[in-house]
Symmetry: C2
Subunit: 188 residues, 2 copies
DNA sequence: TTAATTAATTGACATAGGTCAAGTATCAAT
DNA sequence: ATTGATACTTGACCTATGTCAATTAATTAA
C-alpha cells in the first residue's frame, strides 16, 4: 500500500501504448545502501526516486538538529518538492535507511517528454494534487492532535513506519521528543 | 502583495491573446457582506474566488471548535482544496470577514476550457505548485517555531493579518490560545 | 563472543502554554 | 449617550511535554 500514487498508475494505464512505453523507458534502476544520501542540502533535486524496496527518509536541519519530514516505502515517490519544481538548491536531505532499490528518473527527461506528449503535464498535476492532500492532512494533525494521538494515528494508519524506523526519527517526524514517544509506548 | 499568484499572472500573460480572452470571460463579479459563507461543510466546492477586495477566512470544525486554516486578501485565490479537486463534499467553511468583492469562476467552466485549451492544465499545475510550497512552509513553522516566534513571523511577513483580523482567529490559525497571543503582545 | 556503540527507557525536574474566571475595553445598535 | 454584546487582557493555577542525566537494552564490529 503506497502513499499517493494509485491515481497516477490509473492515469498512465489509460494513455496510449506508445506514450506508456516512452514513460517506462525513462527510469533507471539503482541500488543504495543504508546511510547513502540521494540528495543533500544545497544540491538541486534533479531526479525523482520511485521505490521498489527499502526505506528512505527526508529531513532538514534546524538549529543543528535533524527534523524528519517524510518516510518513503515501496511505490512511493521520493523527492524534495520545492527544489524539484523550482530547480533551485534544496534545504532537505534524502537518506536511505536500509538497502533500497529505486527507479530513478531525470526531471529534464520528464520535461522533454512533456514537450512531445503534453498530456503528461496532467500526470504531474495529479501528483501535485495527491501531495497537497497529504500535506493538508498532516498539517491538520499538527493542528489538532496531541503527542499520544499522533503516535496512535501512525500506529493505526502506517504500522510499517513504527515497525521499521528508529524511534528518534519517528519522534522528530511527529514533532515530539523521543522520551515522550517512549513514555506513550510504556503507558499501555 | 498576494500570496502565490504572481507566477500565474506571468503564465497567463504569455498565452496567445485569444486564450487570454477566453479565460478572462469566465469569472463573474460578486459582492459579499461580513459573515456570509462562500462554502459550508458538506457542500462541494465548485467555484474559486479571486479577491478584488476584502478578507475571507477558511476554517473547519474540530470537536465543536473552529480551526482557522487560511486568510485571503486581495488577489488571493480562495477555495477548499481537497473538495475542489476531488469534487467531493468539503469539511471546510469559507467565510467573509468584511465586505468583499470577488471574481467567481466555476470549476466546470475551467475544465471545459482545459479541453479546448490543454495548455491551461499547466496553469492549474502552477497553482498547485505554489500552494504546495506555501503548505510546506506552514508545516515547517508548526514543526520548528514556538508561539512567540509564530506570532512574530506573522507580524513581520503579513502585518495585514495582524491588523485586520480578530485575535481569536489569529490564535487558532497559529495553533495557540487567544490568551497566549494576548500575553505575547503585552510582553514587549 | 565480547567489547563498543547506538538506541530506548525511566526518573526528576523545568517550563511553555492551556484552561478557567474575572475584569476591562471596544464596538454596535437603539 | 446608554445599553448590551463582543473582543481583549490579566491573574491563578494546571498539565502536557521538554530537558537532562542515569540506566538498560539492542546492534554492530572486531
Amino acid at each position: 500500500m503506497n502513499k499517493y500514487t494509485n491515481k497516477l498508475d490509473h492515469f498512465i494505464s489509460q494513455l496510449n501504448t506508445d506514450t506508456q512505453q516512452d514513460i517506462m523507458a525513462l527510469p533507471k534502476q539503482m541500488v543504495y545502501e543504508k546511510g547513502d544520501f540521494l540528495l543533500k542540502e544545497g544540491t538541486i533535486c534533479k531526479k525523482s526516486f520511485v521505490l521498489e524496496s527499502g526505506i528512505i527518509r527526508k529531513f532538514y536541519l534546524n538549529e543543528g538538529k535533524e527534523i524528519t519530514t517524510e518516510f518513503y516505502f515501496k511505490d512511493d515517490i521520493a523527492l524534495s518538492f520545492k527544489s524539484y519544481i523550482s530547480q533551485e538548491p534544496s534545504n532537505e536531505y534524502l537518506q536511505v535507511l536500509e538497502k533500497t532499490v529505486v527507479m530513478v528518473t531525470d526531471y529534464d527527461d520528464v520535461l522533454k517528454l512533456q514537450k512531445t506528449h503534453p498530456e503528461l503535464i496532467e500526470l504531474e498535476l495529479l501528483f501535485m494534487q495527491q501531495y497537497v492532500i497529504w500535506l493538508d492532512e498532516r498539517l491538520f494533525h499538527f493542528h489538532t492532535l496531541d503527542a499520544k494521538q499522533k503516535y496512535q494515528l501512525l500506529l493505526n494508519k502506517t504500522p510499517h513506519i513504527i515497525q521499521n524506523i528508529p524511534l528518534n526519527y519517528i519522534a522528530s517526524y511527529l514533532g515530539v521528543s523521543p522520551e515522550t514517544i517512549s513514555r506513550i509506548r510504556a503507558s499501555k
